[in-house]
C-alpha cells in the first residue's frame, strides 16, 4: 500500500515538474531528424509505461492478496513448478513488444541517418565541424569561410556536417536538430541536419573530453536562405584570412569566444578522410577521394594524420 501511495505521489510530482517547465529540448524538435527521434522517444515511453504499469499492478496484487498477515496461521503455500501456458505468455508478450520496437528502431535509424524526406533532391551544404580542446571549428569549403564556436545554417536546406577531432573523441550534438555523432581524430563521420525554423539552438560536445569539457559549447543559428547568403558575403568583406599559423594557435587547449575568418583550414590541414585518413578503408576512402579532387589546392603539406 505504501508503495502504491509513494508511486502516485511520485507520478504527480513528475507531472507537475513536467508541466511547469518549458518543453524539454530533445522533445522540442526544430527539424525532421530531431522530430523523428522525439516521436520514437514518445512512442517508446508509452510502450514501456504499459509494461511498468502491468508489473506494478501485478506486484501490488500479489503483495496485497498473499501477505502473511492476511492469511491463517496454518496456511501452507502450495508447491507450484510452473505452467507451460503461463510461461508461454510471459515469453510471448515481451517478444512481441521487442519485435515491434526493433522495427521502429531499425526504420527510424535509417531515417535519421539519411537526408530527410522531401529534401533529398537538394544538394546538401557541406560544413566540416572539427573539435579541438575545447572548441568547435566550422569550415564551409563551398563558401570559403570558417567560424569558431558558432555555426550559421540556412533553413530548409539539408546540411551535411562532416565531423572530426583534433584530440579526444568528442560528440557533436544539437539536441533540437538531431542526435549525436562522434568526432574522432582518424576519420570523418557524417551527420545530416535540416533546420526548419529559424532560431538559435544550443549545441555542444557531449562526450567527456577533459578539463574544459563543460564549456565546450557552440551556437547553431538557422537563418533563411537570403540571410544566410548575406551573412556569407558580409564575412568575405570583413573577416581576415585564416592562416596556418593562426589556426595552429587556435588549436591550443583553452576556450575562445566566437570567431570568423575567410578561407578554411582545410586548405592547409585537410580533414582525415580519403588519403588523409588514419585508416584506409571502405566508404570513407572513396567518398573522400572524390571530395579531395573537389578542392585539391593543397599540395605541399606533410602527412596531417599525425595530429
Amino acid at each position: 500500500m505504501k508503495l502504491k501511495l509513494a508511486f502516485i505521489a511520485f507520478a504527480m510530482l513528475l507531472t507537475t515538474i513536467l508541466a511547469g517547465c518549458e518543453p524539454l529540448l530533445v522533445l522540442d524538435p526544430k527539424g525532421p531528424q530531431a522530430e523523428t527521434t522525439a516521436n520514437v522517444i514518445w512512442l517508446s515511453i508509452l510502450t514501456m509505461a504499459i509494461i511498468v504499469i502491468v508489473v506494478i499492478t501485478l506486484l501490488v496484487i500479489m503483495l496485497y492478496k498473499y501477505r502473511a498477515s492476511k492469511q491463517s496461521e496454518d496456511y501452507e503455500p502450495p508447491h507450484i513448478e510452473g505452467n507451460p501456458f503461463v510461461e508461454t505468455i510471459i515469453v510471448a508478450v515481451p517478444v512481441i513488444i521487442v519485435l515491434f520496437l526493433s522495427i521502429v528502431s531499425v526504420k527510424s535509424t535509417y531515417e535519421v541517418e539519411s537526408i530527410p524526406e522531401g529534401y533529398d533532391n537538394q544538394e546538401p551544404l557541406v560544413i566540416y565541424a572539427s573539435s579541438s580542446n575545447w572548441k568547435w571549428h566550422f569550415s564551409y569549403p563551398e563558401q570559403d569561410i570558417e567560424t569558431v564556436n558558432y555555426v550559421f545554417l540556412p533553413t530548409n536546406r539539408p546540411v551535411e556536417f562532416r565531423l572530426y577531432s583534433y584530440g579526444p573523441i568528442t560528440s557533436f550534438w544539437i539536441p533540437q536538430l538531431a542526435g549525436q555523432k562522434y568526432a574522432m581524430a582518424d576519420m570523418v563521420t557524417k551527420i545530416n541536419i535540416v533546420a526548419e525554423t529559424p532560431g538559435d539552438y544550443g549545441g555542444r560536445n557531449a562526450n567527456f573530453s577533459g578539463e574544459g569539457f563543460a564549456e565546450n559549447t557552440f551556437t547553431a543559428t538557422a537563418l533563411t536562405n537570403d540571410e544566410f547568403n548575406k551573412w556569407v558575403e558580409e564575412i568575405h568583406s570583413t573577416a581576415d584570412q585564416l592562416t596556418e599559423e593562426q589556426f595552429n594557435k587556435l588549436l591550443k587547449p583553452g576556450h575562445l569566444g566566437q570567431m570568423t575568418f575567410t578561407g578554411t583550414h582545410l586548405e592547409f590541414a585537410p580533414a582525415p578522410e580519403g588519403e588523409h585518413g588514419g585508416h584506409h578503408h571502405g566508404e570513407t576512402q572513396e567518398e573522400g577521394q572524390s571530395n579531395h579532387e573537389d578542392h585539391s589546392s593543397h599540395s605541399n603539406h606533410e602527412d596531417h594524420s599525425s595530429h
Binding site: T36, Y66, P78, V98, S105, T109, K181, M184, S305, H307
Partner: protein
C-alpha cells in the same frame, strides 16, 4: 628531488590535504589499536592467512562496504557540486577525478567485491561443500583484489587520480591528454584485481561443477548457485579481454606503442570496443548474482518454491550468451551506419526478454504465497518495480535512433543507476541481511533496517528520476557545472537532496550493525528465517568445516524437504575431515603485486624487477612446498558439534 616530485599530487586542494591527514591518522589508530590489544597474532593466524571461504567472503564484504563509503563520498561531492548552477565547490579537474574514481570504485571495488564476497560465503554452503575447489587460490584472489583496491585508493594522495572517466576512452586517456600518473594507476589497479577476479571465476566453476553434495544434480542446485555458476562463466570469458586491453593501454602510455593512438596505424575506437566487449558482460556479471539472491529471498519469504525454476535457469544461460553480442550499443554514435546499429539494437532489446521472464517468475513466486515483509524481502519487493523501470529505459536506450539523443546524457546516467542500485546494491543489502545470522550468529535489527530501506528507496527515486528529465533537456553527463539559463538547477538540487537521503540510509545501515551487535539476542537458532536451501542446515555460527557430515540432497530445496517432507539430510556417521592449511603466501604475493603495480605506475624499474622476482620466487616456493592439508579428528568434530548443539538447542 626530482625523484620525489612525481609523487606530489598535481592538483592539490584543502580537501585532499584533509583526507591525507585523515588517512594517516586512521592508519596510525588501527596499528596502535591492534598492537594495544595484542591482536596481531590473532589477525595473522585467523584472518590474514585464512583460506576459509567464509572468512574470505567476509573480508570481501567488509572491503566492499569500505569502498561503498569511499565511492559514496565521491557521489555526494559530485551531487553537491552540481546542486546549484555555476558552483565552485570543486573545479573541473577535481570533478573529473572524482567521477572517474567514483565509477571505478563502485563497479570494480565495491560491486564486484560484494558479489564475489557473497558467492564465497554462500556457494560452498549451498552445495554442501567444505570449501572451494582451490582454497589457497581463493585467498590469492582476495588479496589481489585488495592490493588493486589499495593501489587505486592511494592515487589521490600520491601522484594524482585518474581523470578520464571509468570508461577511460583513448586518446583522452593517452599521455598526450592525460599527463599525470593517474591513468597508470587505473591500468594497474584494474589489472591486478582483474587477475584475482579471473582466478575466482575458474575457482568457482570448478567448485560448483565438482564439489556438489551427492544427489545435487545441476538442475537441483539452488538458484543463487546457478547464478554464481553462470556469472563465473561470463567472468572467465570476459575478463581476459580486459586484461589484454589494459596491457595494451599500459604499453601505449609507458612504452610508446600506438594501439589506441590516432596516429601510426593505431585506433582509438579499438579501446572503446575492447572496453565494452568486457564492459557489457561485466554489467551482467554484477546483476546475475543479484538475481540469484532475489530468487532465494523471494522464495523464502513467500514460503513457496521458486516459480519456473527451469525458465529461470534457461534465461540466465541465454543472458550469458547474449551479453557478448550487444557491446556496440555503448557507442551507437560512433558512426558505423544504420545496418550495424540496427543489428546491435535488436540484440540489445532481445536481452530484455529473458530479463522480463525473470521478473514475471518472481511475481509468480509470490502468487499463492505467504509473504512476510522482512528487510530482505522489502529490498526484493522494492527491486521489482524500480528495476523494471531501469530495464525499460534500457530498452529505450537500445533504440539506436533515440540513443543518439540519450547517449552521454543524464538520461543514460539515470538508466544505469536505476539498474545497478535497485538491482545490485539492493540485492547486496538484502543478501547481507538475509545471511547475516549465518555469518555472525545474530540478526540485524528489523526496525532500523526498514528505516534504512525507506530512506534508500525514497532517496534513490529523488536522486535519479530527475536525471531522466534533465537528460532529455540536454544535460550532458560529466559536466562539472552548468549555467543558470540551462534551467537544470532545480532538478539537480532535488537530486542532491535525494543523495542526502541515501547517505542517511547508509549511515542507518552501519548504525544497525553497531546496534544489533550490542543488543541483538544471540540465540537465533540455525534457521531464523524458516528458509529452504542447504546453507541453513549448518549450525550457527558455521564451524570452519561447514558440515560435519556430507549432506545428501534430492531437490533444490533440500533443507525444506528435511523440515517438511521427512527427507534425511545427514545419513553418514561423523568421520575425520580433510581441510586445507592456512598460508601466508597469498597475502605476501599480493603485497609484492602491490609493490610491482606501484613501481610500474611511476616507472621505478628497480621496484618492478625486484617485485617480479619476489612473485616468481613465491610461485617457485609453492611449487616445491609440501602441504597436504590436515585432518580434523572425529573427537574434535564431535566436541564442536556438541557445543554448537547445546547452543542451538538452548535457543529454541
Amino acid at each position: 628531488m626530482e625523484f620525489f616530485e612525481r609523487f606530489a599530487i598535481p592538483h592539490p586542494s584543502p580537501l585532499i590535504y584533509a583526507s591525507m591527514v585523515a588517512i594517516g591518522l586512521t592508519m596510525i589508530a588501527i596499528v596502535v589499536g591492534i598492537t594495544y590489544f595484542k591482536k596481531w597474532g590473532y589477525l595473522w593466524r585467523e584472518w590474514l592467512t585464512t583460506v576459509d571461504h567464509k572468512r574470505i567472503g567476509m573480508m570481501y564484504i567488509i572491503s566492499a562496504l569500505l569502498m561503498l563509503f569511499r565511492g559514496g563520498a565521491d557521489a555526494v561531492m559530485m551531487r553537491l557540486q552540481t546542486a546549484v548552477p555555476d558552483n565552485t565547490f570543486l573545479d573541473a579537474q577535481h570533478y573529473n577525478e572524482v567521477f572517474t574514481t567514483h565509477g571505478v570504485v563502485m563497479i570494480i571495488f565495491m560491486a564486484m567485491a560484494f558479489i564475489i564476497g557473497m558467492m564465497n560465503f554462500v556457494v560452498p554452503l549451498q552445495i554442501g561443500a567444505r570449501d572451494v575447489a582451490f582454497p589457497r587460490l581463493n585467498a590469492i584472489s582476495f588479496w589481489l583484489y585488495f592490493a588493486g583496491a589499495m593501489l587505486f585508493n592511494i592515487s589521490f594522495v600520491i601522484g594524482g587520480s585518474p581523470d578520464a572517466g571509468w570508461t577511460n576512452y583513448f586518446p583522452l586517456a593517452g599521455t598526450e591528454f592525460s599527463e599525470t600518473v593517474g591513468v597508470n594507476y587505473y591500468m594497474w589497479a584494474l589489472q591486478i584485481s582483474g587477475i584475482g577476479t579471473l582466478m575466482t571465476g575458474i575457482n568457482f566453476i570448478v567448485t560448483i561443477l565438482k564439489m556438489r553434495a551427492p544427489g545435487m544434480t545441476l538442475m537441483k542446485m539452488p538458484m543463487f548457485t546457478w547464478s554464481a555458476l553462470i556469472t563465473n562463466v561470463i567472468i572467465v570469458f570476459a575478463f581476459p579481454v580486459l586484461t589484454i586491453a589494459l596491457l595494451m593501454g599500459t604499453l601505449d602510455r609507458q612504452f610508446g606503442t600506438h594501439f589506441f593512438a590516432s596516429t601510426n596505424g593505431g585506433m582509438d575506437m579499438l579501446w572503446a570496443n575492447l572496453f565494452w566487449v568486457w564492459g557489457h558482460p561485466e554489467v551482467y556479471i554484477l546483476i546475475l548474482p543479484a538475481f540469484g539472491i532475489y530468487s532465494e529471498v523471494i522464495s523464502t519469504f513467500s514460503q513457496r518454491n521458486l516459480y519456473g525454476y527451469k525458465s529461470m535457469v534457461g534465461s540466465m544461460v541465454l543472458i550469458s550468451f547474449m551479453s557478448f553480442l550487444v557491446w556496440v550499443h555503448h557507442f551507437f554514435t560512433m558512426g558505423h551506419g544504420p545496418l550495424v546499429n540496427g543489428i546491435f539494437s535488436i540484440t540489445t532489446m532481445a536481452i530484455a526478454v529473458p530479463t522480463g521472464i525473470k521478473i514475471f517468475n518472481w511475481l509468480l513466486t509470490m502468487w499463492k504465497g505467504k509473504i512476510r515483509f522482512t528487510v530482505p524481502m522489502l529490498y526484493s519487493v522494492g527491486f521489482i518495480p524500480l528495476f523494471t523501470i531501469g530495464g525499460v529505459t534500457g530498452v529505450m536506450l537500445a533504440i539506436a535512433s533515440a540513443d543518439y539523443q540519450y547517449h552521454n546524457t543524464m538520461f543514460l546516467v539515470a538508466h544505469f543507476h536505476n539498474v545497478i542500485i535497485p538491482g545490485v546494491v539492493f540485492a547486496m543489502l538484502a543478501g547481507l541481511t538475509y545471511w547475516w545470522p549465518k555469518m555472525f550468529g545474530f540478526m540485524l535489527n528489523e526496525r532500523i533496517g526498514k528505516w534504512g530501506f525507506w530512506f534508500l528507496t525514497v532517496g534513490f527515486c529523488l536522486a535519479f528520476f530527475p536525471m531522466y528529465i534533465t537528460g532529455l533537456d540536454g544535460q550532458a553527463r560529466r559536466m562539472y557545472t552548468y549555467s543558470e539559463e540551462t534551467g537544470f538547477g532545480p532538478l539537480n538540487m532535488l537530486s542532491f537532496f535525494g543523495a542526502g537521503l541515501m547517505a542517511i540510509a547508509f549511515i542507518l545501515i552501519v548504525y544497525n550493525v553497531y546496534y544489533s551487535f550490542r543488543y541483538a539476542p544471540r540465540n537465533v537458532g540455525q534457521d531464523p528465517w524458516n528458509a529452504r536451501s542447504l546453507e541453513w542446515a549448518t549450525p550457527n555460527p558455521v564451524p570452519h568445516y561447514n558440515f560435519s557430515v556430507t549432506p545428501v540432497v534430492n531437490s533444490s530445496e533440500a533443507f525444506w524437504d528435511s523440515k517438511k517432507n521427512g527427507h534425511q539430510l545427514f545419513k553418514d556417521k561423523i568421520d575425520k575431515i580433510h581441510m586445507p592449511n592456512n598460508s601466508g603466501l597469498p597475502i605476501i604475493i599480493a603485497g609484492l603485486f602491490f609493490v610491482f603495480g606501484f613501481s610500474f605506475v611511476f616507472g621505478i624499474w628497480v621496484g618492478v624487477i625486484a617485485a617480479a622476482i619476489g612473485i616468481f620466487g613465491c610461485m617457485a616456493y609453492r611449487t616445491f612446498e609440501k602441504d597436504h592439508g590436515h585432518y580434523i579428528p572425529v573427537e574434535e568434530i564431535q566436541e564442536t558439534e556438541m557445543k554448537l548443539e547445546v547452543r542451538n538447542n538452548e535457543n529454541r
